[in-house]
C-alpha cells in the first residue's frame, strides 16, 4: 500500500492564482500510477473542481478581500484524492447552492453543482474558526 501524499498551499485571496493551483492538482492526479481509470480526464476534473471551489471561496466566502488568504490541501493515496479548501469568511450555504438548478439562461450558479457532479463526497464543515470545503474522489 502506498503512503498518503499531502501538499499544503496558501495563496492570497486573488483569482490570478487559479491556474497555478489547478495545474498542481492536475499534476497530482497524473501521478496516481495505480489509478485504473482515465487519468487525463481525472486530472482535468481535479483542475476544474479546484478552480470552482477556489473561485467560490475567493469571491463569496472571502468577499474578494485581497488581504485574506486561502489555504488548500490536496492529498492522495491509492484509495482517494481529497481536496480541502479553507476560508476565513462568513462561509456560504452549500445546501442551498447544491439545490439551485441553473437553467439555460442563468449566467452563474453552476460551480458547486459541477463539484457535486464530479466528486464522490462533498462536505462543508466548520472547525476552530475555519470553514473547510472537503471534496473527495474515490479511486478504488
Amino acid at each position: 500500500m502506498s503512503k498518503r501524499v499531502e501538499v499544503d498551499i496558501t495563496i492570497p485571496n486573488q483569482t490570478k492564482y487559479l491556474g497555478m493551483i489547478g495545474r498542481i492538482g492536475e499534476s497530482m492526479a497524473y501521478s496516481l500510477k495505480s489509478y485504473n481509470g482515465n487519468r487525463r480526464e481525472l486530472a482535468y476534473h481535479i483542475n476544474l473542481v479546484l478552480t470552482e471551489a477556489l473561485a467560490n471561496v475567493i469571491n463569496h466566502a472571502n468577499k474578494c478581500d485581497p488581504d485574506k488568504e486561502v489555504k488548500i490541501s490536496i492529498s492522495t493515496s491509492d484509495q482517494d484524492l481529497t481536496i480541502k479548501v479553507f476560508d476565513q469568511g462568513e462561509g456560504f450555504d452549500i445546501d442551498a447552492l447544491s439545490k439551485f438548478n441553473a437553467d439555460a439562461s442563468d449566467e452563474g450558479g453552476r460551480g458547486i453543482q459541477i463539484i457535486y457532479k464530479l466528486m464522490d463526497q462533498v462536505k462543508y464543515i466548520h472547525d476552530d474558526g475555519d470553514n473547510i470545503l472537503v471534496m473527495t474522489k474515490i479511486l478504488q
Partner: protein, 111 residues
C-alpha cells in the same frame, strides 16, 4: 484576456487566445461582447480552438453573450471546441443551448 477580433460582413469573430477561460479572465470577454453589442454588432462567432480549460465563469460569460445577442435579434455561435471543453458543455447541458460548429467556416456559413 487576449482576444483576436476580426469582422466578415456583419459577423464578428472573436478568437480567445488563452489556454484557460476561468473566473480570473472571463469578465474581459463579457465586457468585450457588451462593447460590440453597444456598437450594434450582434452576430458573433466565438472561436475556442486555443481554449483547453473552461470553468463555470467562462460558460457564464458565453451565456451572457448568447442572451444579449438574442435579445438584439442577433446570434452567438461557437466553433472549434477541444474535446474537454465540449465535455463541459455536455456536463452542464449547455450544448443544447448553443449552436456549436466544428470550424469557423461552418459557423460563418450558418448565419
Amino acid at each position: 484576456m487576449q482576444l483576436n477580433i476580426s469582422e466578415q460582413d456583419d459577423i464578428v469573430n472573436i478568437c480567445v487566445e488563452e489556454e484557460r477561460m476561468d473566473a480570473h479572465n472571463s469578465g474581459d470577454l463579457k465586457e468585450q461582447m457588451l462593447q460590440l453589442f453597444d456598437d450594434g454588432k450582434c452576430n458573433l462567432t466565438i472561436d475556442l480552438s486555443k481554449v483547453r480549460f473552461i470553468d463555470s465563469s467562462g460558460l457564464g460569460a458565453l451565456v451572457s453573450g448568447f442572451k444579449n445577442a438574442s435579445a438584439r435579434d442577433g446570434s452567438l455561435k461557437l466553433c472549434c471546441l477541444q474535446p474537454q471543453v465540449q465535455s463541459m458543455f455536455e456536463l452542464t447541458r449547455l450544448h443544447r443551448v448553443f449552436e456549436i460548429f466544428t470550424n469557423q467556416e461552418e459557423a460563418l456559413g450558418s448565419f
